[in-house]
Amino acid sequence: MSTVIEIAILVLAGFVGFEVISKIPNTLHTPLMSGTNAIHGIVLLGALLLMPLASGVFEQALLVVAITFGTINIIGGFFVTDRMLEMFKRKPEKPQHEQAAASTDGGKPEQ
């Protein structure tokens, strides 16, 4: 892949990123941050790709750490986000009245 093409892809991805975040409710800020955070766990791929090329124990050790870090970023990120979003199962945003009803049943009973 030539650098120019990679830049082209970079630019396009950037635009997607800008456009995709429109007006969002405040309560979604933290989950959204945490969700995007999980996505940059993609760096794991880099660590995986380098492992077979690693020469010597030191590099291998470094890469094991990198893989561990990347995995934590991914797994942790997605799980945490999912937990944060639980609250939308219990208290949906105002606009979604129809769903409010739905999730009452879903939500655990207020004894």
């Binding site: 892809i9 991805a13 990123g17 933290t30 941050m33 492992m51 090329l53 797994i75 219990r90 655990k108």
Partner: protein
């Protein structure tokens, strides 16, 4: 591993495309309350596909140790990540995100380092070298910055800004070191690994220096910013490694992350430059207790409050950061029950930026099983205050501060607030006359209709509940 060797790079890139399409689609869904949960899952599937695709790559398992080392890393990461994610208290989420973001940045830095060591002695094409060094810088800034953010939120470090004299100079110097060594390296001095270490260390210190001086309450914004950084560095690493999935996913986060950072700053009417400037030793981002505008303050007792509340038709509870600090949510839930049993109508007024993270109050009250149909968004409840007999302000301050409406000079002027001062009477539960996050005085406390119940929110609330029961 022969089986794998068969798979063509096109197939793998194809899977990468599917993966990032899922990322985008997931992100899109994450922006809507109804679709958010699904969105997160979709993105996760995308990630799984990307990882598997990478493992399908020919020669990825080349070398006897490789498969085991890879497995080791994956297992370790999972073993650490899952419990961490599942155990953390809802209210500790921001620091958790900070850590996860940090390790991401750390991974980038390490990758760049190995990249460099590995191409050691010059086989390194500029096309790969410059990006990977750039990634090293951004990655380790993000790593250390996130750790500081974590430490501050976790109160391992004091939340207040920590500054050295001449902060700015030092930071700039460090930046110069980073960029300098980058240029040196790029210009072909491969004689020894010192420079790359120089880069990593300088960037590390820089990361610390930038975040240390920032006030604890600005951390959510800072974390979001560092999150965008990590994304960017991931994209750049992708360029160095010719990996389209990394380029796209990283840049997605870089772009959406920076937009999000702005939105968050706006929501708590701060400006990103101002916050970071704090970090660069400029405008102080953190609270400084404002001069008390004097005026008489009426202090009251739990019993009086109990009576006021019991004989009210409608009571609105406006919780804030103080409720979080005091972990008073369960006590509050008790009080709400007690009052309802007395036939009082109780509602909760949720300000979008009450507490220290968006949705902070929603999380706490949800945790205490407060029925969500009692929760009211700011816009819903504000018209209702005029019809409210008593408003109980529990550890909230800035979000109820009329100065935001009346005093153009005020630092929070323009921030929409809970108009509690419109209700018949206001009772404020806090420990002192100290100011809140914005560090300014609150005229509300000096109004005639306002009475203060000093003390820890949890204690005060249970006292009130007891008295209500006793009536």
């Amino acid at each position: 591993m022969a089986a794998f060797a068969a798979i063509s790079p096109n197939v793998i890139n194809g899977l990468y495309i599917v993966a990032f399409a899922l990322f985008i689609f997931g992100l899109h869904n994450l922006t809507g309350p109804r679709t958010a949960v699904r969105g997160n899952q979709i993105a996760a599937v995308g990630m799984a596909i990307a990882v598997v695709a990478t493992l399908l790559r020919p020669h990825i398992f080349h070398g006897s140790a490789t498969p085991w080392l890879i497995a080791l890393g994956l297992v370790l990461g999972t073993a650490i990540g899952i419990p961490a994610a599942l155990r953390v208290r809802m209210t500790a989420m921001p620091q958790m995100v900070a850590i996860f973001n940090g390790v991401g940045g750390g991974a980038v830095a390490i990758i760049a380092w190995v990249e460099y060591r590995h191409h050691y002695g010059g086989s390194f094409s500029l096309k790969a070298e410059i990006p990977s060094l750039l990634a090293a810088i951004i990655g380790s800034i993000s790593f250390w910055g996130s750790n500081i953010a974590f430490a501050k939120l976790q109160e391992l470090l004091p939340g207040r800004p920590l500054k050295l004299p001449g902060q700015v100079v030092i930071n700039l110097a460090l930046l110069v070191v980073c960029v300098g060594s980058l240029i040196v390296l790029a210009s072909g001095v491969h004689s020894q690994g010192l420079f790359i270490l120089g880069i990593l260390v300088a960037a590390a210190v820089l990361g610390n220096m930038i975040v240390l001086p920032i006030g604890g309450a600005d951390m959510p914004v800072v974390i979001s910013l560092l999150n965008a950084f990590t994304g960017l560095s991931a994209a750049i690493t992708g360029i160095a490694l010719n990996n389209i999935a990394m380029i796209v996913a990283g840049m997605l986060v870089g772009a959406s992350g920076s937009i999000l950072t702005n939105l968050m700053a706006k929501a708590m009417n701060r400006s990103v430059p101002a916050i970071v400037a704090g970090g660069f030793g400029g405008a102080v981002a953190a609270p400084a207790v404002g001069a008390q505008t004097g005026g008489t303050v009426r202090s009251t007792s739990a019993q009086d409050v109990a009576i006021q509340l019991s004989y009210a038709r409608q009571v609105v509870i406006a919780p804030g950061y103080g409720m979080a600090v005091a972990q008073a949510q369960h006590a509050v839930r008790e009080l709400e029950r007690a009052l309802e049993s007395k036939g009082v109508e109780v509602k909760f007024a949720i300000h979008p930026v009450a507490g220290r993270m968006p949705g902070h109050m929603n999380v706490l009250l949800a945790e205490a099983d407060v029925p969500y149909d009692l929760l009211r968004e700011m816009d819903e409840i504000n018209p209702e205050f005029s019809r409210t007999d008593v408003t109980l302000v529990i550890g909230a301050n800035d979000v109820t501060n009329p100065a935001a409406k009346n005093e153009p000079g005020s630092p929070i002027y323009g921030m929409p607030i809970l108009e509690v001062d419109k209700s018949g009477a206001v009772v404020v539960l806090k420990r002192s006359m100290a100011s809140g996050f914005a560090g300014i005085d609150n005229p509300l406390f000096y109004e005639d209709k306002t009475s203060m119940l000093f003390g820890d929110a949890k204690q005060s609330v249970s006292d009130i509940t007891a008295e209500v029961g006793a009536l």
